[in-house]
């Protein structure tokens, strides 16, 4: 049965975002306001919005779930995600703000002097967007289950409707200001839950000892005789996890577009400081929660204490799959750990923070898709009169369509939320990351290389990931392992992360072999953009 305190905190959260959305909607006067917030967002708000947009339910639910599975070595993947934020400052953020486009695809079309790239980049981005919108709605379903104690399916449907209303009536101004509020909320939620967990055991030293006593292999690395899990059992695997998301902040469209919304380049750089400050603090909380989840659930979860389920974390999570229809029960481990604290205030703040992170991520990705479909495709490529005259209306229709697609997939998702995130990251970084990063920093980057790299890496990575997942049993097993005569577990490459260096190498080789770009275009979109970043 739903706890009134948990429900009350959630209601307060919704009242707050409705108020912020209403206020910001009154300020929205043009399509530019809708797409890029009139380029008026300051560094603190943009930094916080970056945090809540970039860090999705894949962070809040998925990272603790993967710590639960892999153990301590996965903390380094989280370290690399946070460090990827400042790396983006000078790699892409400052240059992209200096450029100041409206759409993610603008840069590709301008730098490589080919408007048709809007189609190619759009298709790849939309693939990632569908995965991200799906995982956001999975997150909504899980947090609504924690709040209202009703079946996961209802949560997915209600969650999708809430996000539709949120995006349709706001645009980027609503998502920027609300996302900033949501960033503060989710950071506070994770830190409070982590402190609650440490307090439960009587201090950080006692917490560490309890985790170790519950799972003696938890802190093991590949250097130890028995690693905690096969996927973190080799240094190759640990390094692979480390790099899976590391360069995402610099290249993923939903963060890159946020650099377009700030006032100037200085603000773009400073916003990343605020993002790193809050996100790092948020991740500290998640690392503690992930480490303590198993022992917490097995010692104090209400289902264990009442004797309804034996003291086994997997059995508790299975209970949620069986009784509430959660498609990927490991994603519930973080919430179950906080439920074990048996403190409705902490659970209420966590659930509101969880809804916040899910809503802001879905909204951020829907905005990216909106701009690509409405502006790039319908207006600029197809010359649609309807899109030109009704950009906001069309963007709203597109939002509803993609949220509906995400909702359907979220009912029975193809993987854990972090699996969907990693898949989207590697495919996008490998396919269109080289042409973004090298397009800025290398005069020799060519249009042909952009087309060939994007098509080959998109198709190859899709095949490799799906083959590894469906035939070998996990996306982390190198898809060519058996063909090379190796056991499938011999080479661990999370999300086929090899695709990223291969994509960059392929891009460089093809660029060297193909016709050099127009010097004037290179001067404008490569040399001038990267001066004094």
């Amino acid at each position: 049965m739903a706890d009134p305190i948990v429900v009350g905190i959630t209601v307060l959260y919704f009242l707050a975002i409705i108020a912020i959305g209403w206020y910001s909607r009154a300020r929205m006067k043009s399509a530019t306001d809708y797409y890029v917030a009139g380029r008026q967002i300051g560094s603190v708000v943009n930094g916080l919005a970056l945090e809540s947009t970039y860090l999705s339910p894949a962070s809040m639910l998925g990272l603790p779930a993967y710590i639960f599975i892999l153990g301590y070595p996965f903390w380094w993947a989280m370290s690399a995600i946070i460090a990827g934020m400042p790396v983006a400052t000078l790699l892409t953020a400052a240059a992209m703000r200096k450029y100041g486009p409206t759409s993610f695809a603008d840069y590709y079309a301008d730098r490589y002097n080919d408007q048709n790239l809007r189609w190619l980049v759009g298709v790849i981005v939309i693939f990632g967007a569908i995965l991200y919108i799906t995982l956001s709605i999975v997150g909504m379903g899980i947090f609504l289950l924690a709040i209202l104690r009703f079946p996961y399916l209802y949560g997915v449907i209600l969650g999708a409707i809430i996000v539709m209303l949120y995006v349709v009536f706001g645009g980027m101004i609503a998502t920027s200001w609300n996302a900033a509020f949501q960033a503060v909320l989710m950071t506070i939620a994770a830190v409070i839950a982590a402190i609650g967990m440490i307090n439960y055991f009587g201090g950080l030293g006692e917490f560490h000892a309890a985790v170790l006593a519950n799972n003696p292999k938890f802190f093991n690395t590949p250097a130890d005789p028995e690693p905690n899990h096969i996927l973190a059992g080799t240094w190759l695997g640990v390094v692979g996890w480390y790099f899976t998301w590391h360069y995402g902040f610099a290249t993923m469209p939903y963060t890159v577009v946020r650099f377009f919304t700030v006032m100037d380049m200085k603000t773009a750089r400073r916003s990343i400081f605020w993002c790193t400050l809050f996100a790092g603090f948020f991740y500290l909380g998640l690392e503690i929660i992930g480490a303590g989840a198993k022992v917490m659930i097995e010692k104090a979860h209400p289902l264990v204490v009442s004797g309804a389920v034996k003291a086994n974390a997997l059995a508790v999570l299975k209970y949620y799959a069986t009784n509430f229809g959660v498609g990927t029960p490991l994603d519930y481990s973080m919430v179950a750990a906080v439920e074990a604290l048996q403190n409705p205030w902490i659970l209420g703040i966590l659930a509101a923070g969880g809804l916040a992170i899910a809503m802001s991520t879905a909204a951020g990705w829907v905005m990216v898709v909106n701009v690509i479909v409405t502006r790039d495709w319908a207006d600029m490529m197809l010359r649609s009169k309807f899109a030109k005259e009704n950009p906001v209306l069309m963007a709203r229709i597109i939002s509803v369509i993609f949220l509906a697609i995400g909702m359907v997939i979220a009912i029975n998702p193809p993987g854990l939320v972090l699996d969907l995130s990693g898949w989207a990251f590697v495919v996008i970084i490998a396919a269109i990351g080289p042409s973004l990063v090298l397009g800025l920093w290398w005069k020799g980057a060519t249009r042909t290389a952009t087309w060939i790299t994007a098509i080959i890496m998109f198709v190859l990575h899709l095949y490799a990931w799906l083959y590894a997942k469906l035939t070998l049993g996990h996306h982390s097993f190198f898809f060519l392992g058996p063909a090379l005569g190796l056991p499938k577990t011999a080479i661990i490459t999370p999300h086929q992360v090899w695709a990223i260096p291969v994509g960059f190498l392929l891009f460089i080789v093809i660029s060297l072999l193909t016709k050099k770009p127009d010097p004037e275009v290179v001067e404008k979109y490569c040399v001038q953009l990267t001066e004094k970043v």
Binding site: Y72, W75, W76, M78, S79, A80, I82, A83, M85, P86, V87, T89, L90, L91, A94, L204, G205, H208, A209, F219, N220, T221, P222, A223, D224, W235, V238, Y242, K266, R269, R270, I272, F273, C275, T276, L277, G280, F281, Y283, L284, E287, I288, L440, W441, W442, K443, C526, V527, T530, E531, K532, V533
Partner: protein, 69 residues
């Protein structure tokens, strides 16, 4: 040829260097088995403070260069 500013490479060396040192410490001296060590070097420093230092130098030095013309 455009090239990221020197401070970009300094930041990368700082962060990747820090990570490699920690992994070497784990592989050779078992740092990960010292009670509360991972909470300090991997969580507090590795996940928060070191990336935060990067984010500061990445806006401070470019702004300083701009101010100096």
């Amino acid at each position: 040829m455009p090239w990221p500013p020197k401070i970009f490479w300094v930041g990368l060396i700082l962060y990747y260097g820090y990570t490699v040192v920690c992994w070497l410490g784990e592989a050779t001296a078992g740092w990960n088995h010292i009670p509360l060590a991972v909470e300090v070097y991997a969580a507090l420093l590795g996940t928060w403070i070191v990336p935060l230092i990067l984010s500061v130098i990445y806006f401070y030095f470019p702004e300083k260069a701009e101010a100096e013309g």
